[in-house]
């Protein structure tokens, strides 16, 4: 098991590609997405039942080591300043497969 940060982001679906680009540029090795979710926050109610990506959220999380996280955090902060959304950071343990123990 490896200690890692779990970075969860909830943003308007329309901005998800831009966030994934940010992840890519930060050398993130993996992520998980749950699309078309709902929510309420400072930008109002997202109901996810519209013919429109502006009214629906996506939920993305990525796991990474503390160092990588420290490098990303400012970029995520300015992303959220510009596009809205929430970012939640928590401490987790990740169970690695044999192969991955080498990768990460």
């Amino acid at each position: 098991m490896e200690k890692m940060k779990k970075i969860e982001v909830i943003i308007e679906s329309i901005y998800v590609n831009r966030l994934l680009e940010l992840f890519k540029e930060s050398d993130v090795t993996g992520y998980t997405i749950i699309r078309g979710i709902e929510g309420y926050g400072s930008h109002g109610l997202k109901t996810a039942d519209e013919a429109n990506d502006l009214l629906s959220n996506d939920y993305i999380f990525t796991l990474c080591k503390e160092e990588k996280f420290n490098k990303m955090i400012e970029r995520i902060r300015s992303f959220i300043n510009r596009y809205g959304g929430k970012c939640i950071i928590s401490d987790t343990q990740v169970l690695l497969s044999l192969k991955e123990s080498k990768y990460l």
């Binding site: 308007e12 329309i14 901005y15 680009e21 078309g36 930008h43 109002g44 109901t47 996810a48 039942d49 519209e50 013919a51 429109n52 990506d53 502006l54 009214l55 629906s56 300015s78 510009r82 596009y83």
Partner: protein, 330 residues
């Protein structure tokens, strides 16, 4: 104005299903049409409109008259967002003025086909090439919006010091304008309709022709739910914009009608041109604006387009514009 014109429009199942959807929200019934069912309906409608338009074009071919009609369509799609922007600047900042102007400069496909249904109900002819006109009218407003964003809101680019970001945006926004799913699918189906002609249409008609009105009714039920939910947001929008959302379509449609009159379009084609000019986008353009002008408030342009202009156009707008036309044509 003849009340009959309005009733002929409203007493059609599709419009009544739209009202039913709105009532469901007002009465707090828990009726919902969850994703991706609305997506299914809109994919269906785009394909159906495109195929049928292409099929009709494969018969008619292109002539000067059609060329004129398409030219007028593009003309309206360019000038509407321009003059809308300057009207909106009276009360709004640059960002919001751009986003709303682009929204109203583009079109709503469902408004268009509701107009087509109306023409069929009252037995007035129109040309299938107007579908091509509709396709041509989707993108210009997005381009105008982007040019204005570059001209009038440079400051924002400075604040955000990630210059390379700005460059990629242009490519992304170009895609939004000309390759967004609505335009892409509509144009694609149109071309398939043209290429496969009579034989192609014969094989596609049972699904994409015969069922069309039923699917439209189903989709408008959902649009009623969506529009009504947005009505609650209008209180934050302000009177100026609510008036704008009704007056602007009437004005744009009137310009379209005058152009149609002077360039001698048929009554049916003119109604469709007017309706396209008067309608506002609620999918493609809001998406493009959200990406390119994140500073603009979608809480303004979305409810205006969905909860005011769309319901107005499909219920009262269509017969009103047709009434104008009957007066002019005499």
């Amino acid at each position: 104005m003849n009340i009959d014109l309005i009733l002929q429009n409203i007493l059609n199942p599709p419009i009544l299903f739209f009202l039913l959807g709105m009532l469901a929200v007002f009465f707090k019934s828990e009726l919902t049409i969850p994703q991706p069912l609305p997506k299914l309906f809109s994919l269906y409608l785009l394909i159906a409109i495109g195929l049928h338009g292409g099929y009709e074009l494969s018969h008619s071919g292109i002539n000067t008259y059609i060329f004129t009609a398409l030219f007028l369509a593009i003309l309206m799609a360019i000038i509407v967002p321009i003059y809308s922007y300057f009207i909106l600047r009276i009360k709004l900042d640059s960002y919001n003025a751009i986003a709303i102007a682009a929204t109203y400069g583009s079109i709503s496909a469902v408004t268009f086909i509701t107009g087509v249904t109306y023409l069929q109900t009252i037995g007035v002819e129109y040309g299938g090439y107007m579908v091509a006109g509709m396709a041509l009218m989707e993108s210009p407003a997005i381009v105008v919006g982007l040019v204005f964003a570059a001209l009038f809101s440079k400051d924002s680019a400075d604040k955000d010091n990630s210059q390379d970001k700005k460059k990629t945006d242009w490519k992304e926004i170009f895609r939004e304008a000309f390759l967004n799913p609505s335009v892409f699918l509509l144009v694609g189906a149109l071309i398939i309709g043209i290429v496969t002609g009579q034989k192609g249409w014969d094989s596609m008609e049972p699904l994409f022709g015969t069922l069309f009105k039923g699917m439209l009714a189903f989709f408008l039920l959902d649009m009623g739910l969506i529009a009504a939910k947005r009505i609650y947001e209008l209180k934050k929008v302000g009177l100026f914009l609510i008036i704008f959302a009704i007056a602007m379509p009437i004005f744009n449609a009137s310009v379209g009608i005058l152009l149609g009159y002077f360039f001698e379009l048929t009554k049916g084609d003119t109604l469709l041109l007017a309706l396209l000019s008067g309608s506002a986008s609620y999918i493609a353009v809001p998406a493009a604006m959200r990406l390119s002008v994140p500073e603009a408030n979608p809480g303004l342009y979305l409810p205006l387009s969905l909860a005011v202009t769309f319901p107005f156009n499909i219920s009262l707008g269509i017969p009103l514009y047709y009434y104008f036309i009957t007066i002019l044509w005499g």
